[in-house]
């Protein structure tokens, strides 16, 4: 199960939106193989009768009053933007030419 190919790593990098170089893909392929081999031992004890835990201290129904609280101003929200027009974030084209 822990066999990881360079093609798989390239696919994962695409899913994670990281433009890895060919060198990085080669490196990560070897490292991830080793790491996955080590972490696979979880399956030895994770039998069907064990209930999974998502959260260390379970809390249920954490609600607050439905009232408007303190919010960021438009200026604060845009203060760290790489590019804005003063009222909106500016990004490059969402769709490529072929789309």
């Amino acid at each position: 199960m822990s066999e990881i190919s360079a093609e798989q790593v390239a696919h994962l990098a695409n899913l994670a939106r990281i433009a890895l170089t060919e060198d990085e893909i080669q490196h990560l392929t070897a490292e991830l193989g080793q790491i996955m081999q080590a972490v696979e031992q979880v399956s030895q004890v994770a039998t069907a009768d064990v209930v999974p835990t998502s959260h260390p201290i379970p809390l249920t129904n954490v609600f607050r009053e439905d009232v408007v609280g303190e919010t960021l101003t438009q200026q604060q929200a845009l203060a760290n933007a790489p590019e804005s027009d003063g009222s909106r974030f500016i990004v490059s084209a969402i769709l490529g030419e072929e789309q």
């Binding site: 199960m1 990098a13 994670a16 939106r17 433009a19 994770a46 999974p52 260390p56 203060a79 769709l95």
Partner: protein, 506 residues
């Protein structure tokens, strides 16, 4: 070195409230110390003396006006760069957030400021808290004040080194798999990971949301307690924050008593994988506890051996999701590929340029663990191990009040020694990870120097969830016995750092 920087937070606070020292003098003494030694230690990523001194002056003004002040008012504190701050940058050790200044303060920082604590600056850390040595910081490693060629631990090596080098009496840390406790172990300082949810995570740049917990870093157990008393409590801005009132941790230290305390030695965390000198000091500490009224029994936690495996599935899975916010749109770096591109291509180029190798490794690993077809086998199984680890804790705490182990397998290793071997680096956290998986509180405090290398060794105490006061009780008692035996604090045995008259490279 100014005597002011040698004082514990508790002693400094007494001098401040007696009027013998002003907050400005206390802040200036620590800023001078930072200027003198941080070129060599590199604990800080950012210091702004003007802001610090203005905040200190404000505390002095309030005191002069007779206002009611908190116990730590006027005491300086170093802030791990994982916590966002509105008057200082917060980078989480990453290039992707270089220069980022938040529009709000993280809740622990806001609480500290409200209590009159004076932030000195932001401390170095592994990028996004991913590491055990600070070598994964995008801004260069921090050096261990005991030996500048060695790691200060991680991810909070900057906070631990700042406190060990007398650059600050207190610091904030964050602990996802040991990032407060392991740095404490290798620097001869105290670090506490409170119960999950005891301290708000609001404004703490998330690594793994179900594991992260902010906590105190200090030179004494009492100082850690005083800080935890300031920052613990419910925060509506963090939906995982526990809504309950906490007893005073400082009172637990002041009334520390080992009589009748049952301490469980974790059989699985005391084997061949632990350095001889670490085991020796650990055995001596257990003997000292036993001869002063504690009952030492052995307990078994058979599923702890699967903790690292589960952790290195859960943590990267949560991290890959949390770090998706660094998309070059709303904040942080933006890097367009040559010739431009679509927003997706800009994202990919930005994340390639802005993330370091360990972050990329974990994001890809997490993406894999969560991907279709593998989710049940990896992430699902890891969550089951989490249940088993919790059951081990529950069984153990039916027999004993607190659990004990060495904090980490070895003393501080050399910078560079494990940088190219991710699995070897991950094993540093073997003793600290179970507490994060189960949400229980843990403390590390110094118990001596390993005979073979003269470097600090820490002991770890663990308590049931919400029973943080038990840690402060047993930790306070052991610390006081050890300081009596040594004739002073362990840090007094650290070599003096060379003092530079000019600012080092930042």
């Amino acid at each position: 070195m100014s005597e002011l920087t040698r004082l514990s937070a508790a002693d400094l606070s007494a001098e401040l409230s007696a009027g013998n020292v002003s907050a400005v003098e206390a802040a200036q003494a620590h800023l001078d110390r930072i200027a003198a030694v941080d070129g060599a230690v590199h604990a800080f990523l950012h210091v702004n003396p003007e802001v610090t001194l203005a905040q200190a002056a404000e505390v002095d003004r309030k005191r002069a006006a007779g206002e009611q002040l908190g116990a730590l008012a006027g005491v300086p504190i170093a802030v791990k760069d994982v916590l966002v701050t509105k008057d200082m940058p917060a980078t989480s050790g990453s290039k992707i957030l270089e220069g980022y200044v938040s529009p709000f303060d993280a809740t622990p920082v806001a609480l500290a400021k409200a209590a009159g604590l004076v932030p000195l600056g932001k401390t170095n850390m592994d990028e996004f808290a991913m590491g055990s040595s600070t070598e994964h910081s995008a801004y260069g490693p921090t050096h261990n004040p005991w030996d500048l060629d060695r790691i200060p631990g991680g991810s909070g090596g900057g906070s631990a080194a700042a406190v060990a080098a007398y650059e600050a009496p207190l610091a904030f840390g964050s602990d996802t798999g040991g990032s407060i406790r392991q740095p404490a172990h290798v620097t001869g300082t105290v670090g506490v990971k409170p119960t999950y949810g005891a301290v708000s995570r609001y404004g703490s740049i998330a690594l793994a949301s179900s594991l992260d917990q902010v906590g105190p870093v200090s030179r004494t157990v009492l100082d850690a307690a005083l800080l935890q008393d300031v920052i613990a409590g419910h925060d509506p801005n963090d939906s995982t924050s526990l809504n309950e009132s906490w007893p005073s941790m400082a009172e637990a230290v002041r009334g520390a008593d080992l009589t009748g305390l049952k301490i469980g030695v974790i059989r699985e965390l005391d084997g061949d994988g632990f350095q001889a000198g670490v085991r020796q000091r650990y055995r001596e500490a257990l003997d000292l506890l036993a001869s002063n009224g504690a009952e030492i029994v052995e307990v078994s936690a058979p599923n702890f051996q699967y903790s690292i495996a589960a952790y290195y599935l859960i943590m990267p899975a949560e991290a890959s999701s949390n770090l998706a916010k660094f998309d070059s749109v709303r904040f942080g770096l933006r890097q367009a590929p040559a010739g431009g591109g679509t927003v997706e291509q800009v994202m990919a180029a930005t994340r390639e340029a802005g993330f370091g190798p360990e972050v990329k490794r974990r994001v890809i690993l997490g993406t894999y663990a969560l991907s279709a077809g593998y989710y049940d086998a990896y992430y699902g199984s890891a969550q089951k191990v989490r249940t088993l680890v919790q059951q081990d804790f529950a069984n153990a705490f039916e027999q004993v009040d607190v659990l004990v182990s060495p904090t980490a397998p070895t003393t501080a290793f050399k910078l560079g020694e494990k940088l190219d071997d991710p699995m070897a680096m991950y094993l540093n956290d073997i003793a600290t990870i179970p507490a994060n998986l189960a949400g229980v509180p843990g403390m590390s405090l110094p118990i001596g120097l390993a005979p073979e290398d003269g470097l600090p060794v820490g002991i770890q105490f663990l308590a049931p969830a919400r029973q943080d006061a038990r840690l402060y009780n047993v930790g306070g008692a052991l610390e006081s016995l050890l300081v009596d035996r040594w004739g002073g604090p362990l840090l007094a045995q650290a070599p003096e750092l060379a003092v530079s008259t000019q600012e080092g490279t930042r």
